[in-house]
């Protein structure tokens, strides 16, 4: 991560924290998880209030997630003409286990978060369901990363590096499983056609 970005946090405080977290959740490649870790460390040593850090991170994340959801929903009409098949699949997936997809893409497989927001909106997931799982997932994300930041405040950059690699590995594993399943089902369906 760009070191000068790290300096923004203590210098400009909570507004810049909310902005980094929000933009990150919207899909802008900013190190939002690292920002929360670092804010957790700063809170632990007394540079920030932990309550304010938590509130600002949660607010930034929720606003960004809902913007993504709205974009998916209203930009979705244009998208659905071109990607009708893909959206149908996403719709089926989300109605089957959409809540959990939203929940886990907030923190365990966070690289997938911004895409899930768009798909949830485009697939017309009920907003109440979305916001419920979004709130739960983001609360876990912010609490977890703040706690890790506080616990490992003296080695925070090392811990951030470990977590970034671990979440990327998990995200790729999840993608690989889904792609594998999709291919397997496709083959199976073809097999059925041939047999019939």
């Amino acid at each position: 991560m760009d070191e000068s970005l790290l300096g923004l946090l203590p210098t400009y405080g909570l507004p810049v924290l909310g902005l980094i977290v929000g933009l990150g959740c919207f899909g802008v490649p900013l190190p939002s998880s690292l920002a929360i870790l670092l804010a957790g460390s700063f809170a632990a040593v007394g540079d920030f209030s932990a309550t304010s850090v938590f509130a600002v991170c949660l607010a930034g994340a929720l606003i960004a997630d809902n913007l993504g959801f709205l974009l998916g929903r209203y930009g979705g009409a244009v998208l659905s003409r071109r990607f009708a098949g893909t959206l149908d699949k996403a719709h089926a997936f989300l109605s089957a286990r959409g809540g959990l997809a939203v929940f886990f893409s907030r923190w365990l497989v966070s690289p997938l978060g911004p895409a899930i927001n768009l798909v949830a909106g485009a697939a017309a997931m009920p907003w109440r369901q979305f916001i419920l799982f979004d709130l739960a997932g983001e609360a876990v994300w912010v609490t977890l990363y703040m706690a890790i930041g506080a616990a490992f405040s003296s080695t925070i950059l090392g811990v951030a590096d470990i977590l970034a690699n671990a979440t990327a590995a998990i995200a790729f594993a999840v993608l690989a499983v889904f792609l594998g399943l999709a291919l397997w089902r496709r083959r199976e369906r073809r097999g059925v056609h041939r047999a019939a």
Partner: protein, 92 residues
């Protein structure tokens, strides 16, 4: 996936070595952060640096260096010296 997973494991082993625990001083660090990271008393550290850090203040080392008209490297050397001073003090 294997690449990222492997890197995560490698880094976890790297950072579990106590020799790597104390981070080198970075421009974004604040006096409170340095005190925690190096396990020295904050008041001792700020006193040794001639700083008055009020509650709510969180100057970065970079800002403090600029304020004193020093390069970051020179200021970091000063901070390291202050850390040694506090550690050498009887109740440090």
């Amino acid at each position: 996936m294997v690449l990222f997973g492997g890197r995560a494991v490698y880094l976890a082993i790297y950072w579990s070595d106590p020799a790597h625990v104390a981070q080198t001083l970075e421009p974004w660090m604040t006096p409170r952060y340095v005190a925690r990271s190096y396990q020295v008393d904050l008041h001792g550290l700020t006193a040794a640096l001639g700083l008055a850090v009020k509650p709510g203040d969180r100057p970065t080392l970079e800002a403090l260096a600029r304020h004193e008209g020093l390069s970051f490297a020179d200021y970091a050397a000063k901070v390291r010296q202050a850390i040694d001073t506090v550690r050498a003090a009887p109740h440090g």
